[in-house]
Amino acid sequence: MRYESPTTSSEAAAYLAEEKGEAFVLAGGTDLLVRMKTGLIEPDLIVDIKRIPVMQTIEVNDDGFRIGAGVSGAELGENEALVQAWPGVVEATNLIGSDQIQGRCTMVGNLCNASPAADSVPAMIAANARAVVVGGSGQRIIPVEDVVTGPGQTTLAKGEVIEAILLPSRPAESGDAYLRFIPRTEMDIAVVSAGVSLTLEQGVIKSARVALGAVAPTVVLVPDAATAIIGTRLEDDALLNLASACSAACNPIDDKRGTIEYRTKVAGVLGRRAAKIAYQRAGGA
């Protein structure tokens, strides 16, 4: 195995493109090194992106936030402006693992590992986040929901690397939230999870996005759940409609962590609770 630590994104993309064998990007390594250790993968090349300066910073301008692909969960949680603007995205990312894992794990690694239970992903999708992808032919910017196609599968071509995540600037009267259900309080994989982001106009929901984790082969955006609450003040019947839309969008697996019936029901409950928190954060009563 060869280890490279380039200092620019295009250099990283070139290493990945030129490798004949199996090549992997190394961000925090909290998925990759576990997969190496357990023999699931045997990389020929590892490209460490943590020496690429544009991937290590969080920048903010009129368009919103640009979070470098190498920024750790712990660093996200320490960025006050980001916590203020996108508390749901930060709380979702900060749920990943222990303090030790937070010191290394990244949102982009969480996304590209392509687990349906990845904690930061429903929150990013609800937030309308986009990924900046760098490859041999330049740069393309795609919605986060277009990155993953199935467990362990992404749309990234050979030689492509994600440089950053873009979060839009936060309109007034907006809020987001993320909730996951696990049987204990720490260090576990989501049985079901929900991310909600919404914007109000005088207390009435003007726009919303709802995404669910661990209820289908990929994290799913649920437009019907958003439609159920747009134009409402999140009254009881709107919440019930939101919950049914969430449950209807579920296509979960049946395993020891949760049955199909259980996951389907809890998806509605979490969607409702996350919507209430987001609504409060947006300044709704």
Binding site: M1, R2, Y3, S5, L26, G28, G29, T30, L33, V34, M36, K37, T38, P43, I46, D48, K50, S72, A74, G97, S98, D99, Q100, I101, G103, R104, E186, M187
Partner: protein
């Protein structure tokens, strides 16, 4: 496979070693630098026995490559005591009998120090959350939490 030459700093001292490109920092520290305070419990990020600080951040050294350490600053349990004087955390772990077999202890000490550097006066809940990435199969955790509380008090 060509080895990679790593120049790094461990507990304030400049250190150089050569390691295979796919070797974990846990193995480099134990087998090349001779710091056996870092322990391998699981090798997969679950137990925290291999905890170190990397540029001041708490991480699992089993999930870092040795090659990544080039130019970084590493802190291990061996850096806690000053000469023969134990760090208050170490002293309180002894006084509170916060260990039995001891395999988890270096990781707990490094993680607890990272917590107290950040929050000098943690609540019991904060201590339990901050140590959630460290597993102990012997003590049942209570004595560890008491030892951290006692050390925090002494350090303030």
């Amino acid at each position: 496979m060509a080895g990679v030459h790593v120049s790094t700093n461990v507990n304030g001292d400049a250190v150089e070693f050569v390691c295979p490109q796919n070797e974990t920092l846990l193995d480099s520290l134990r087998d090349r630098v001779g710091l056996t305070g870092v322990k391998e419990g699981c090798g997969t990020g679950d137990c925290g026995a291999c905890s170190i600080t990397l540029d001041g951040r708490l991480v699992c050294s089993c999930l870092v490559l040795g090659a990544e350490a080039n130019g970084r600053e590493i802190g291990t349990v061996e850096g806690l005591a000053e000469g023969a004087r134990l760090h208050p955390l170490q002293q309180k772990f002894i006084e509170h009998a916060a260990l039995q077999c001891g395999i988890c202890t270096p990781g707990f000490l490094v993680a607890a120090k990272a917590l107290l550097d950040r929050i000098p006066d943690p609540s019991e809940e904060e201590i339990r959350y901050a140590l959630a990435g460290n597993l102990c199969r012997c003590t049942g955790y209570d004595k560890i939490v008491r030892a951290v509380q006692a050390a925090a008090e002494e350090l303030r």
